[in-house]
Amino acid sequence: MRDVAVVGFAQAPNVRSTPGTTNGVEMLVPIFAQVYKQTGLSKSDIGFWCSGSSDYLAGRAFSFISAIDAIGAFPPIHESHVEMDAAWALYEAWLKIRTGEVDTALVYGFGKSSAGQLRRVLALQLDPYTVAPLWPDSVSIAGLQARLGLDAGLWSEKDLAEVAARSRADATRNPHAQFSGASEIADLLDAPYVADPLRAHDIAPVTDGAAVIVLAAAGRAHEFAERPAVITGIEHRVDTPVLGARDLTRSPSTEAAGQAVGTGDVEIAELHAPFTHQELILRTALGLGDDVRVNPSGGALSGNPMFAAGLARIGEAATRILTGQASKVLAHATSGPALQQNLVAVLEA
């Protein structure tokens, strides 16, 4: 089967809230225009369209249908949608190209997280019989995960603050970042707990945003990009949804996906970690050494648009190849509570 490459990437500014419609379609129109310009493709050249978003963010059924207007879906298009981060939409599009059904695909993810109360809305992705009826919020669940590692001595609060400080510093070079700036570890550790043991810097901000990636069959990728980022491995795995039955300090699904794709020799890794301790879990699961540069974009801690942030990790990693800064990179995306579902991709020049 033929290889697939990333040939274009764009993202909307990561912001705390936009004045746009609840389904966020306005964030898409400008970034579609950007990838058309980057690749020289037009709407009619795209073989397959796939998106990731959630009705629970918008508070209405089939909200993604409105976003299809942003495509200009007439004459009829070949389209699909996942109720997950759009990294999984990219996986679906990758399969379509790989099997020879189409040569090009446009993948997009979007979410207006600010329309509702995000950490409460996310309770509804939990087991509907024994967990969701208690409305445990996403930040509290991450707190339980963080404390397990603190108690086990796997990481300290200082380790977590260091992840936050590095992410914010890196984000100063990312024009789309929501949060950036220099910070002293001691100051971060002086800040009050938001959800003991987590402080504000440990938690990704609520973010509205969108991202788009254009894929092409490797044989045609040079028509659309000078230095395409070829996906040489992509795998996704899932852990049990029963939080109390998992060792939450590990991510077996990331580990299995990483082993399947092979993570050796990667120079840069973009990890989708919405909480500081999750970056440490992911680094261990993927066996990344200290020589691997993690999240030069600032990562999800500097902007976490729901359903687009995982796709944006793939886009950020691919950009390092498209622009000639690296020759082998890794991207990771997560979906679900406490790193339940994980996707790992390796891209090469």
């Binding site: 200009g72 600010s114 009826p133 339980l144 707990y193």
Partner: protein, 318 residues
Amino acid sequence: MSTPLSAPLDLAFDYTRSLGPVLGRFAAGLRERRIEGVRGSDGRVHVPPVEYDPVTAAALTEFVPVSDEGTVLSWSWIPEPLEGQPLATPFAWALVRLDGADTAMLHAVHVDSPAEMRTGMRVRVRWADEPAGHIRDIAYFLPVGADDGPSPAPPPKSEQSGVMVTPIQLHYQHSASPEESRYLRGLAEGKLIGQRCPKCEKVYIPPRGACPTDGVPTVDEVELPDTGIVTTFCIVNVPFLGQRIKPPYVAAYILLDGADIAFLHLVLGCGAADVRMGMRVKANWKPRDECWTSLENISHFEPTGEPDAPYESFAHHL
């Protein structure tokens, strides 16, 4: 352009779920203030029970009673509880492994401050006063030895329904697009405002955030008359919850004169059997003082008595 319209959107529904044999037995036990787990293929006891083994995927059927006391494996503090959570005062979320179980359950622990929480502490169930066969029959956990006032009376023996109802309430700030806002504000003034795609020049009502053919925002404003034709219709014969008109009645696609897209409305003022494709109709507006930013301002469309439009004139708008 004026600020787009935005308004609170509150959603509520009762999430009604069938339980099946494993979760049904667990819920029935909770109603009687006892907790049962299920033994996995590897001998581990899962609490809450799981229907299928997480490792082998085998159906699990061996129930094991466990204690209502257990140990906190991890916890986090919620200083400002959110709507729907087990306690309205600050509390700890905890992973609690009940004695006799090998997995932990997520629930709330009722203490006054994080200083009273520690990993490894012993806690016990505080049962809800009114059992319902639901996970919330466990009201919360308390430190073992803590005083929780008078115990609820022992529950009566009851039949398990096999169904669990969880009320869901969500709150949003819903925002319309600038184009949609122009249209809705027009309705409040008794005007029908469409917009034209700058590329294909089609007129959309309601206007679109982006033209579905060209993917560009519609911009030029077009005020449309309140007359048009029926392009297609159906006769509603079925009564349903929330229905406002007694069946039979006609729901029809109305193509306003000058528009390129039809919208759904009612055709009244004639027998349902008399409605036809191509029939000329006119809006019947509610009194102006009842008008607001809604298409409800038009109560229905009714026949004008003019000759029908020829099929070819609307064949491309079906």
